[in-house]
Amino acid sequence: MTTTEIPAPARTAKTTPAKRPKRQREGAAWVFLSPWVLGAAVLTLLPMAVSLYLSFTDYDLFNPPQWVGLRNYTQMFTEDPRYWRSVVATLTYVVIAVPLQLGLALVVALALKSMRRGRAFYRSAFYAPSLLGASMSIALVWRAVFNDGGTVDNLLGTGGWVNKPGWALFAVALLTVWQFGAPMVIFLAGLQQIPSELYEAAAVDGASRWRQFLSITVPMLSPVIFFNLVLQTIQAFQVFTPAFAVSAGKGGPADSTLFYTLYLYDRGFVASHMGYASAMAWTLLLVIGAVTAVLFRTSRSWVFYASEGDR
């Protein structure tokens, strides 16, 4: 900052002295930001703009895109039963995986909070799957574990989950639930922020553990629960790697794990309908935006902020 301010007096003659230094400071900021601004513009905004354009075209990668107006969108909503199957699979997955994952994260966080020794060790141990889980190799191991003749089949005699429609989705959801480490760490941080006086006062008044949980922990933690809920919901809508690997790239059996992103990938890169895939991507973006907006709206009635309590 100081270096850019030095030449300022020499130039002030040209413009109003008050305005120039500030502009220059901002200019310097933009120069320092340029790698990221450039990255965002070239690698994110530009491709997004292109994909918005492509969503109104028929583009097969080989021939130039041809403008088709809204045809991709109308085809998607009215003529493609597999599209709706993928929507149903995705929604089912979101509704199953997100609450389970957050519930487990909260339970483990509560257990860790009351722990006196070895908390750091267990925190790391439970967090580890979050680091590993996104990788292809874990997803492949998952497929092997839940396949016929795999560990689960041998222990429970249930056959291969990944080859049964209705079961396969649970195998994928379990992989997500297993990665509860990230929300758990956030919950743990949130729990430690709750003033202990509240619990002490409640204990003096004779409130049970369960009563304390409902009346103190949940409301005080609600901003953190909300934060985790929004984040995990957005992520769940975009799930790709686990479903791709667990279903061996097909979203099977019988399209039961053909999640939205998987079908999008299938349309774009397997069937070479980039226009259609782009239209799907934009629809997904709008839907996630809408779902997030709804979550924010409902948050007014159940998320408690300490600052509001002061007012």
Partner: protein
């Protein structure tokens, strides 16, 4: 993370950002410069080039490690014979290869020499990716290549690709177990009904499904269809069959599945063309499989007691459905900076005797007729099995159909998805067939 802080930052963040003015002119200029630098940086790295006076060719293919080892040995020999050419190779599995190549081609960055599937020819040729090979006739000889097979690389009267080998489908079975079951062995000219009877008899005798459910496979359906004198596609690239045909086929396979004569839905849904995922390959969960002849070599490692290759069933009137399919094509990128060297490399892979000896039947039996005759006695192990099998059906088969239209590679996946709905009993064969035909028509129209 106290709640009040979280809320404040959410509230104040957008408004502060809104006040920030757009960057000044100097900053914009700097950004533009950076952008320009980044773009030139990109375009430099993309071009195929010459290193130290050598022409550098990029050659990509799909296949397994065995094919990779033999291909690399052939490439090494080529480089020895042509010290001025350096060939850089890369390979992967078919699905990944197909997707990567399409993306490369769309970006104008197709490799100089590429291996292509029959299903890709039409799309790549009409999309302007491939070089008209007539331009390199002096470097690439096609004189010895089987005329019928050579014609499969022609699109719009131009030769865009040359097949490297030919393959045909087969019923591959566990020799020992089939014989032990006491069921009559497959013979030439057997029909689909004979096959179905054999599947039922095997299941009854052994308690295991007689074979893989062929309902998932568009390839098997094509054989069945051709046995009735029909085809997957018409000459002008339209659908060559009706929903009624497909309903009959799926009703036929679905009934066998319900009877336990062929593999259950949980097995069938795992099929992806690799022998490792077939019921026969997964520890003998069935006694037979239908597959392509060359890849069936993979069964040797999976079925220790040995396998035999039998012809595909014919139509009830004896019309053969299977055909010799050009199994892998080689083509040159229209954008290649070294078309002549590329042509010379293809010529070597197709017509050089030493190369043929190294490559064996890893891509199928060679299409070069003089080479096929000369190396036949030298083929060993499974290469010989495949060669003998092909010789046994040679001359009895009808000529191959022309290259499938562009939409076909997507439809292959659709076919399997729709049959999943049938075998898991979520749709009737009729419903699934109607679904498929609707989607196929949309796919072929675009």
């Amino acid at each position: 993370m106290p709640g009040n802080r979280t809320r404040k930052s959410w509230r104040s963040w957008p408004s502060r950002r809104a006040r920030t003015p757009w960057p000044s002119r100097t900053t914009a200029a700097t950004l533009a410069l950076c952008a320009a630098a980044a773009l030139t940086g990109c375009s430099d790295s993309g071009e195929s080039s010459s290193a130290g006076g050598k022409a550098v060719l990029r050659y990509t293919w799909w296949g397994n490690p065995d094919r990779a080892a033999r291909t690399q040995a052939a490439v090494d020999l080529f480089e020895k014979k042509h010290p001025d050419i350096d060939v850089q190779t890369s390979f992967s599995g078919y699905d990944a290869y197909k997707q990567k190549l399409a993306t490369q081609a769309a970006g104008g960055d197709a490799p100089d020499v590429m291996q292509l599937d029959y299903r890709m020819i039409d799309q790549y040729a009409s999309g302007g990716v491939l070089l008209d090979l007539a331009k390199q006739r002096s470097a690439l000889s096609t004189a010895d290549i089987d005329k019928g097979l050579l014609a499969t690389g022609v699109v719009d009267d131009r030769q865009y690709a040359v097949p490297q080998a030919r393959g045909t489908e087969t019923i591959v079975y566990d020799t020992k177990q089939w014989k032990a079951a006491g069921v009559e062995l497959p013979r030439e000219g057997w029909t689909w009904n004979d096959w179905a009877d054999a599947m039922r008899a095997l299941a009854e005798k052994t308690g295991k499904p007689g074979g893989t459910d062929p309902g998932w496979s568009e390839d098997a359906f094509e054989v069945w269809l051709r046995g009735q004198g029909k085809s997957l596609y018409t000459k002008d690239g339209k659908l060559g069959f009706t929903a009624d045909d497909l309903t009959r086929y799926w009703t036929f396979t679905d009934r066998l599945r319900r009877e336990g004569a062929v593999s259950p839905a949980e097995e069938t849904t795992q099929l992806d063309g690799t022998v490792e995922n077939t019921p026969l390959g997964r520890g003998g969960r069935a006694l037979s499989d239908n597959n392509w002849d060359a890849p069936s070599s993979g069964f040797l490692a999976l079925v220790p007691t040995g396998v035999t290759l039998a012809p595909m069933p014919s139509g009830e009137d004896g019309t053969p459905g299977q055909y010799f399919k050009p199994s892998m094509f080689m083509g040159i990128a229209d954008s290649s900076g070294h078309p002549e060297e590329s042509a010379r490399f293809i010529d070597f892979m197709l017509n050089d005797m030493d190369a043929a000896k190294i490559l064996g039947a890893t891509r199928g039996i060679p299409v070069n007729e003089s080479i096929r005759e000369k190396i036949a006695p030298e083929l060993k192990d499974f290469d010989k099995t495949v060669a003998d099998y092909q010789a046994s059906v040679d001359g009895t088969l009808n000529s191959p159909p022309q290259a499938p239209p562009s939409g076909d590679s997507a439809l292959q996946t659709t076919f399997q998805r729709d049959y999943d709905q049938v075998s898991f009993e979520r749709m009737s064969p009729r419903e699934a067939a109607e679904d498929y035909v609707t989607e196929a028509k949309a796919e072929l129209r675009s």
